[in-house]
Amino acid sequence: MNQACSQGTCERALFTPEMKATHTLLIPTMLPVHFKLIIKVLEQEGYHAKLLTNSGHSVVDQGLETVHNDTCYPALLVIGQMLDALESGEYDPHKIAFMITQTGGGCRASNYIFLLRKALAKRGYGYIPVVSVNFSSLEKNPGFSLSPSALMKIVYAMMAGDLLMNLSNQCRPYEQHPGSADRLVDYWTEELEQELRHSIVTVYGRIRRRYPQLIQSFAQLPRRAEKKIPVGIVGEIYVKYSPLGNNNLEQFLLSEGAEPVVPGLLDFCLYCVYNGIEDHKLYGGKFLYSTGCRFILAYLLKKQRDIIKAIRAQGSFKPPAYFKTTCERVQPYLDRGVKMGEGWLLTAEMVELIDSGVKNIVCTQPFGCLPNHIVGKGMIRVIKERHPEANIVAVDYDPGASQVNQQNRIKLMLANAQAESGTAVAEAAVTSKASMESTAHPVPAPVR
């Protein structure tokens, strides 16, 4: 079977209903807090699931050996992490399955799952089922299905993760007791896990009722009053979030005295759903699908509103922006028809960060990331045209990229940011002059 697979097309190993009881689903890490909560939901559904936490160079080496090296870095890491786990001997290969998300867009990321299967087959693990989690019904497994209630719980778990990430990011740089923000995150992860156990009828109400208390507890963390330079992190979803992918970028920024600002995962989901509606608008067809998307979008937006309102009501923290605002803000820069990879959302996040006062941004991407040529590096110029104060650095990540080089570029960005904030008053005149110059050539509305 192994031979057959590497030689040609092979039937994929299915996740059968029996496996639900015998097999453990292994999930690669991206956002530990979010994923921990999501795993709890899977467990409630009767699956055995485990988050892979192995990291280090052996992960990269496994990836390099099994995946075409010109493939994007996240694929290499995700697959490397899975194979590294397999080779660690910690798991019985006959008792596990892998789980991986698949967005089904025009980016090559949709192919991760196939590359994973190829890699497994090459190593003689062709029998291990790989379960795809996707919104586009790309492929199915008889033993794996999520009930609507489980899906909804996953959404709640994800939003709770976003909230914890948002608040802890605003606390961590200022905490008086090192580690106190993380401990609070752990505490709330446990608490929310308990809430997620409840029936779907009451679960959302329960979680929502905890929001004020949760936000309040972060607000009460003893923090220093100083104001650090906020630095936004945007980019390809995996390297943006995963410390494994971005060489511990958040940690580095913290150690350099900056405050990392990371947009949440919900925005990406909203973006995916939104694209279903936009597709119908641009090309026609798929009426039912787009109507479904509209319904889901409205549902998610309502939940987003609950969180934003709760943060506002408490008053200590900066809430995420409404998705509608995000959509509107990107309008002058890029059409929302750009839907591959992170698409227009990436540009939108940069604009939104700047508008909310986060002028310094690290735009992360795997080396040679196709969509980011357009929506990342390709848009920096227009963003700076309208926001001369923006200080954006694009950083490429890949297995050979040296950390020194990456850090040097980020340091330059930080040096500029510090100079800017240090001499803010003195340079205000200069900036306003620059912005006047830029308005001297008004940008006509894009022809569309």
């Binding site: 697979c5 040609g8 090296n69 090309y283 969509p371």
Partner: protein, 981 residues
């Protein structure tokens, strides 16, 4: 004001400046040869007279300075930031700063919106790059500069990274181009890289200050910058203090602080920061003990060739010449294959002189006793040598290597050759070459890389290799390209790795690069049982040992590892069965002279840069043209070529004057295929459709300035030039739609375009301010749903002024005709494809399916590879012409891009045809082809077909392409031969 010191520790040099009241009291600039801390301390001692007894403040800057600053607890200032401080203080009125360092390049826009940019992960076009190029030309950087001032002509040389540039320069050298011209071309490449990579569309105007070592020392580079940027003398600032700018900035920065240290404290802190190991990764040593090494050495000593003394030998002899990219090898063998004479040496940038000298020596030694009965040349310079010295035959180098390896071990099933410039490897199955892999433009890590590195650290290649053998902690440097390795080495040096550790680490990297990047093997078993390694690089025991360790098995390294190509050529010469070789006689050799002259061919539209070598006897060899045969003479039989057919069809599209005026369309990317659709659509609607010209290098250069992402594929980069071209044509409306989806051909799971093709118009709009002056229409349109297209297109166009008064039915009619035209066009290509296949079969010719994307028919993208192939006597068919001849192919991956689905189908078709082979064209940077190449290879190999991939970029070395195609032909020939016998 107080006294302050600025220390700039760069990738290759240390600069120290001591300053008081903006007066420089002391300045020093020296290469640190990776001994970062020692060198810094040394220079500090030199500064003792001005520092002793004073209290002063200090700051460190530079890419290698961070670690030192941290350990020595001295403030660190980022180097670009330091530069801006220096400019502020010392060169007021400057608008733009261009600073080149050892491995960094920076540009600072100071006026009109402050912006600072530095090179990213691709660090071509820097001081280290120039050093590398100088050693390639066998001159010192100083001499390179002197040479450059005598240039006459500039050749296009890629500067994205050293590897690209080398593969451009090497053929130039081999073709005999003047060193002066190459030297200046190298500087021009640096200039181009700075403009493309860093300025990214922001104009470089006003007063420009040029800082950093290279811009201070190299006059030629200065001149290229000034001329290319068209700067007047007043506006081009080359300050005397240029190399010290960063150190000066650091000193200025330090001066703002209170004095905190004195001479002794500073020196002690710097010295004590040394020797602390950081977070670099280390590998186990190559050899634990001397005994281990002795056993290893004894084992390899066994693989040797018998030698005979030429001074006493009588009888026939056979000559093999391997004129490689950096070295020239000659071998003379006896009838029984014993070595009579051998030569291995650098070709010093001029292989003809070397070969002439060696041939004279050999002829002299032979005297009348030994008759040379056959001579064969191979390698990069094969043809040049063949025509210069009247050699009997030239063979492609892969075949030469195979001949030699087989002689050594008839069971050989895998050959790996790491030469100075290239890595070649091939599997052998059924006594013939089964698959050939050559290093692509980006996977570097060959012998010359090690050599250059050794030199840059002040060692010879041998000393460097020797140092690595017993290194205690070899550094793990990864396996990507040279540029990345440079940075990794920098990092490891920061962490205190010594020269021995770096040498061993680099050997390991070279090996890993070969195994995982070029061969892409997953395990030793994939390489086979009997592995023969050869090429000069394997003389390096550290590399050989690394290879065996990584593979986990023993391999054979013949004692003549570096001569295998020449030896194989000599064996081939022996097989020719000639009574006498046509090789020049001793007198002729002594009288041999040659001159090389550059020219531009006017033979066809390609206008290739040529080098005409004229030999003493009046013979000529012209190199550099795309077609196999020198032009001007009677054109060879014209073979069917679908690439040419498709391109000619597009060229034949005429603008039809219309009532609605002109509409411009850039001819690149998907337009190569969609143009019949849009041309008909707009012509029907009353527009005169103006296309941008077919790409040429100059067109690319025009748009180069506005490319924001350096790593995007070349076809996409060309679009900037096409827009410029349309603007020059005075069109007021440009149409270039965004298309997430392509036409649905029902070959795969979906019908997407790749993200770059889909959204490049958005990028152009955002990065080409000139587009604001015209009407740039870039709607999102989907041609995949016909009904949807008509509705949505109508909604869009009716509100555009150019389309005023347009009616729905009118647009629908135009769309109907456009769809029909598109279908007809595709049909025509299919029919033409059939004709080509029939023609090939009637004439007994082989068919090459040159499988790429529609835009690969662009001559500036394919660099004439299709013509090269037809000139070798093969019929070229494009992938879309055969993709419909088989049912949709099932593949192991998500088959969701229209263009890529055709590749799989084309491969499936080739797999069923005995007389067809597939060559896949892959644009450098095409992320999606990382997925397709593996699949296409699997489809072909399942049917026992050979897979050949050619990576193309801005500049492609056709010489290497030719080797691949000829190797493919050689392997096929061998296969047929084996099959019939």
């Amino acid at each position: 004001m107080n006294i302050s010191i600025g220390i700039d520790i760069g990738s290759t040099t240390v600069k120290v400046v001591v300053m008081e009241n903006r007066q420089i009291l002391f300045q020093h600039y020296e290469r640190h040869l990776s001994q970062v801390r020692q060198k810094t301390a040394e220079i500090l001692r030199l500064a003792e007279p001005v520092l002793r007894g004073r209290q002063f403040s200090a700051a460190i800057s530079g890419s290698a300075g961070f670690g030192v600053a941290k350990l020595a607890e001295i403030p660190f200032i980022q180097e670009v930031f330091a530069t801006s401080k220096a400019v502020e203080a010392f060169y007021p009125g400057t608008d733009i700063v261009i600073e080149l360092g050892g491995e960094d390049a920076k540009i600072l826009f100071l006026t009109g919106g402050l912006e600072e940019r530095m090179n990213g992960s691709c660090a071509g076009g820097t001081g280290a790059f120039i050093d590398q190029m100088a050693s390639l030309l066998a001159v010192t950087p100083q001499q390179l500069d002197e040479l450059s001032l005598q240039y006459q002509k500039i050749y296009p040389i890629a500067s994205r990274c050293g590897v690209f540039a080398k593969s451009d320069i090497q053929p130039l050298l081999n073709q005999g181009a003047a060193k002066a011209d190459i030297a200046m071309s190298i500087f021009q490449a640096v200039v181009n890289q700075t403009i493309t990579g860093l300025a990214q569309g922001r104009p470089i105007e006003g007063k420009v200050a040029f800082l950093g070592g290279p811009l201070y020392f190299f006059q030629g580079l200065r001149r290229r910058f000034q001329e290319t940027l068209q700067l007047t003398d007043e506006n081009a600032l080359f300050p005397e203090t240029g190399p010290y700018a960063v150190a000066m900035g650091a000193a200025v920065h330090a001066a703002r602080q209170q004095p905190v240290t004195d001479y002794n404290t500073l020196l002690t802190r710097i010295e004590q920061s040394a020797g602390q190991l950081g977070d670099s990764r280390f590998l186990p040593p190559l050899f634990e003990t001397q005994a281990q090494y002795n056993e290893f050495a004894a084992r390899h000593a066994k693989a040797s060739v018998p030698q005979k003394n030429l001074d006493t030998y009588t009888g026939p002899a056979y000559l093999g010449i391997d004129c490689g990219s950096t070295t020239t090898k000659l071998v003379l063998i006896s009838k029984d294959g014993a070595l009579l004479d051998q030569y291995y040496g650098s070709n010093q940038g001029n292989p003809l002189d070397v070969v002439q000298r060696e041939l004279i020596r050999i002829r002299e030694r032979c005297g009348a006793r030994v008759s040379i009965q056959g001579a064969v040349s191979t390698g990069y310079g094969e043809e040049l040598i063949k025509s210069a010295f009247s050699i009997d035959k030239g063979i492609v180098e892969t075949m030469a290597h195979f001949q030699a390896a087989r002689h050594f071990n008839p069971q050989v099933d895998f050959i790996l050759d790491i030469g100075g410039q290239d890595i070649k490897c091939f599997k052998v199955r059924n006594q013939s070459i089964d698959s050939i892999m050559l290093n692509e433009a980006c996977s570097s890590g060959c012998g010359s890389f090690l050599e250059t590195f050794a030199k840059s650290m002040g060692y010879t290649a041998q000393e460097f290799a020797q140092a690595g053998l017993f290194a205690k902690h070899p550094v793990d440097l990864g396996s990507r390209c040279t540029v990345f390795m440079n940075s990794s080495v920098k990092q490891s040096q920061k962490d205190g790795a010594g020269v021995d550790d770096i040498s061993a680490g680099l050997s390991m990297s070279v090996v890993k690069n070969a195994i995982y990047k070029v061969i892409r093997a997953r395990s030793a078993d994939e390489l086979g049982e009997n592995v023969v390694v050869q090429g000069g690089t394997f003389y390096n025991d550290a590399v050989l040992r690394s290879f065996e360790l990584e593979l986990g098995r023993q391999v054979i390294r013949p004692s003549i590892a570096g001569l295998m190509g020449a030896y194989g050529a000599a064996l081939t010469a022996r097989g020719l069965g000639l009574a006498q070789s046509s090789l020049l006689s001793l007198e002729q050799l002594r009288a041999f002279t040659h001159t090389a002259r550059p020219m531009v061919c006017q033979g066809c539209n390609n206008h290739c840069s040529l080098t005409v070598n004229t030999f003493g006897d009046g013979g000529k060899y012209i190199s550099g043209n795309r077609r196999e045969k020198p032009l001007g003479k009677k054109a060879a039989q014209k073979l069917s070529d679908l690439y040419e057919y498709k391109l000619n069809r597009i060229k034949a599209l005429e603008p039809v004057k219309g009532a609605r005026g002109k509409i411009g369309i850039p001819m690149g990317l998907n337009q190569f295929e969609n143009i019949p659709f849009w041309h008909t659509f707009f012509t029907e609607l009353g527009f005169e459709v103006v296309l941008s010209d077919i790409s040429v290098l100059e067109l690319y250069a025009k748009g180069r300035g506005s490319i924001p992402s350096d790593t995007v594929c070349y076809p996409a980069k060309l679009m900037h030039g096409h827009i410029e071209n349309l603007l020059e044509k005075q069109v007021n409306t440009i149409f270039y739609p965004c298309m997430s989806y392509n036409f649905e051909e029902k070959k795969g799971d979906n019908h997407y375009n790749c993200p770059v093709v889909a959204y490049y118009p958005e990028l152009l709009r955002a990065n080409m301010p000139k587009l604001k002056k015209v009407r740039f229409l870039y709607p999102f349109l989907g041609v995949h749903r016909r009904r949807g297209f008509v509705q949505k297109a109508y909604q869009y166009f009716k509100s555009q002024p150019e389309f005023r008064g347009i009616r729905f039915l009118q647009l629908k009619r135009a769309a109907d005709k456009a769809y029909a035209r598109y279908e007809q066009w595709k049909q025509d290509v299919a029919v033409e494809g059939q004709k080509a296949l029939e023609y090939a079969r009637q004439n007994g010719l082989k068919i090459i399916v040159l499988a790429g994307r529609p835009y690969h028919i662009d001559p500036e993208i394919n660099h004439g590879i299709n013509q090269l192939i037809t000139s070798l006597g093969l019929v070229v068919v494009s992938e879309d012409a055969v993709a419909d001849l088989v049912p949709p192919t099932k593949v192991n991956v998500l088959n969701q891009w229209t263009y890529h689905a055709r590749l799989y189908n084309a491969a499936s078709w080739v797999a069923t045809q005995p007389d067809a082979e597939l060559v896949q064209l892959v644009s450098f940077g095409c992320g999606i082809d990382a997925i397709t190449t593996d699949e296409v290879m699997i489809i072909l190999e399942r049917s026992g077909k050979l897979y050949t991939q050619i990576k193309i970029d801005e500049i492609t070395n056709l010489g290497a392409v030719k080797i691949r195609i000829r190797s493919l032909l050689g392997a096929l020939e061998e296969r047929e031969h084996n099959f019939s016998s």
